[in-house]
Symmetry: C2
Subunit: 340 residues, 2 copies
DNA sequence: GTGGCCGATGTAAAGGTTTACATCGAACAT
DNA sequence: ATGTTCGATGTAAACCTTTACATCGGCCAC
């Protein structure tokens, strides 16, 4: 049964006493073959333990059933769960996931173009905001691709992300409902669309509550822990402190939180803090961080599903899928001290 | 130049005015072809942007240059960095990494056997402690495989892990050098070899310092945050509290830490705590956790290197590679209160 | 000068699959 | 009875590579 070399379609054909063409058809277009032969073939397959050689299949078809996932940094802890979503969905449809990371090195992009070509990957999942390939490739017919997290700049590639506006809105709404009126926003000056959207959500929330926008309460960092602390220091240099800090991401929130503790303040008694992303660390902070969760596994799943759709119908169904983020309420938000 | 369909070896041959055999030789056995032709071929390759079709190559060769990585849970935050190590090393040698996860579902093992067969993956990286395949497959000639983190039970498969004994030893030595004599060990009753080894390191450290082993100070949880807290409660039910808690992993340490804080104790003023693994969250805890770091990226790198070795020489060089773990000293360890 | 050898190159087969096209029989309509 | 149609199956080509074997010169030794 389980010989050293795997069974080929020919072995199956011999046992089922049909031609290899019929075997192939019995597998891929069952309705085209008589029920009785289909049965014989299936038995033969069971006996031999046959699995089609994917290499031969891909060679013949001119495309493989592998999806290449290109990420700038695999080591990012967020990557795992997205990958899990991607892989699950892919495997459910008979696709495999091939991974590669550019390490933010543009040079390695070309390497991947070669790799991609040579494996004839069926499609591409792009984590990075830009195409990893040289620009000439971009204008050429691109393989079916979808972006994750961020829209891809060059080329109209559909992408799957999170509704940052809504997420930010949820955070600010919580703060407002707790009674905060002076809510600071610490942003990220980097050009990621996501960051700008989070700020829009913040502004929309204020507007909806009839709180006038106060530019003094908006500061931009660069998304790092350190920049969170720095922004906090700037607030303390002024007179008018906010009662809550809404941060563009969890790193920034951590920086703020550290800074506040260093100054002897308590969270959430003296100040409230919110983050965004719900990195795994968020629940480990003291106090644990109230933040907006990126549905990472779901993002992976949707991105892959979208790509697989594109592979079957040629039509790029939707160009943008935004998932609903959830507010994760932990212990870093409370009513402002004045009210207490 | 960059046409819609990728260049084949035939295109190169035509431009270089040689046969396809010569092209292939120029690429794979350059010394077998005259310098002048080699030059022509290289130019032609540059012109066409030729990359060998990996599918055709694998089909011909009967083996691919993909390594299948099978993990029980890709979503595990630790997975990312190991994967990064694996992938880097693989790509450096022209191999691709294909990932799959069993989700701890034995059933899916068979699926992977099929997948493996069909892709003729060159080798296997196993995260799980057991072979994912049915037992008959184990006795059959197995593809070159290496285990990561834990030795693989069935079959003498080499593996790459961390020296748990030494790691635990480093942690206990630190505690001892700070003056602790009553050091508790909170273990994990699960059968993972790693856990037993960590306890060995603990015991060896005590012995080396001439501290008699006190069985009362050893408790087994199951490696979760909750079990850490539970174990702590058990200690408090008794009279003789330790001055330090050495935990089998970071989760447990977090549980202990939460429990101590809930009882109003301060770390490290009242009690010291150590973990193991250095999960990304460890530095976010308050106080940040002193723990033993698993060199994850290095583990991945070594595992892949070992596998690649096995693929070139048939010889399974070494059967066990243990990397040296580092002690990461943060703020959860101090001298015992009595000394202060 | 001729036979042998060797280095460089070409020819063709093989690897496993899918599928256009051909074939074959039966059923049906005339 | 014969021609037509159609459903089921078989035949063979193609996908792109690698490599064993054949071929072809040139060079050396006799």
């Amino acid at each position: 049964m389980s010989n050293s070399t795997p069974a080929t379609i020919e072995d199956v054909a011999r046992i089922a006493e049909v031609s290899i063409a019929t075997v192939s058809r019995a597998i891929h277009m069952p309705e085209k073959v008589a029920k009785s032969t289909r049965l014989k073939v299936n038995q033969a397959i069971a006996i031999t333990g046959y699995t089609a050689n994917a290499m031969a299949r891909s060679l013949r078809l001119g495309r493989s059933n592998m999806i290449l996932v290109v990420a700038p940094d695999i080591g990012d802890p967020n990557f795992s769960s997205i990958l899990a979503g991607l892989e699950n969905e892919a495997r459910a449809h008979g696709y495999g996931v091939l991974i590669g990371h550019t390490q933010n090195d543009a040079q390695r992009g070309l390497e991947y173009l070669k790799f991609f070509n040579s494996y004839q990957a069926a499609g591409l999942i792009l984590f990075t905001g830009i195409l990893p390939f040289g620009h000439q490739a971009a204008t050429d017919s691109l393989p079916p691709s979808v972006g994750v997290f961020e829209p891809v700049f060059n080329g109209g590639i559909p992408y799957v992300g999170v509704d940052d506006v809504e997420g930010a809105r949820k955070a600010v709404d919580l703060l407002i409902s707790e009674g905060h009126r002076r809510i600071a926003f610490i942003g990220d000056s980097n050009t990621r669309l996501a960051y700008r959207r989070r700020r829009s959500g913040y502004e929309a929330g204020l507007a909806a509550a009839g709180i006038p926008l106060n530019r003094q309460l908006i500061l931009d960092g660069d998304g790092t822990v350190e920049s969170g602390r720095l922004a906090l220091e700037q607030f303390f240099m002024r007179d008018d402190l906010p009662t809550a800090f809404m941060c563009v991401n969890d790193q920034t929130a951590l920086g703020v939180s550290i800074g506040l503790k260093a100054r002897g303040y308590d969270i959430p008694d003296h100040f409230s803090v919110t983050g965004f992303d719900d990195v795994p660390q968020a629940s480990f902070m003291t106090p644990s961080l109230t933040t907006v969760r990126q549905p990472r596994t779901a993002i992976g799943k949707h991105a892959m599903a979208l790509l697989l759709d594109m592979l079957s119908d040629r039509a790029a169904s939707e160009t943008e899928i935004l998932l609903r983020p959830d507010l994760v309420v932990r212990n870093s938000v409370g009513p402002p001290p004045a009210r207490r």
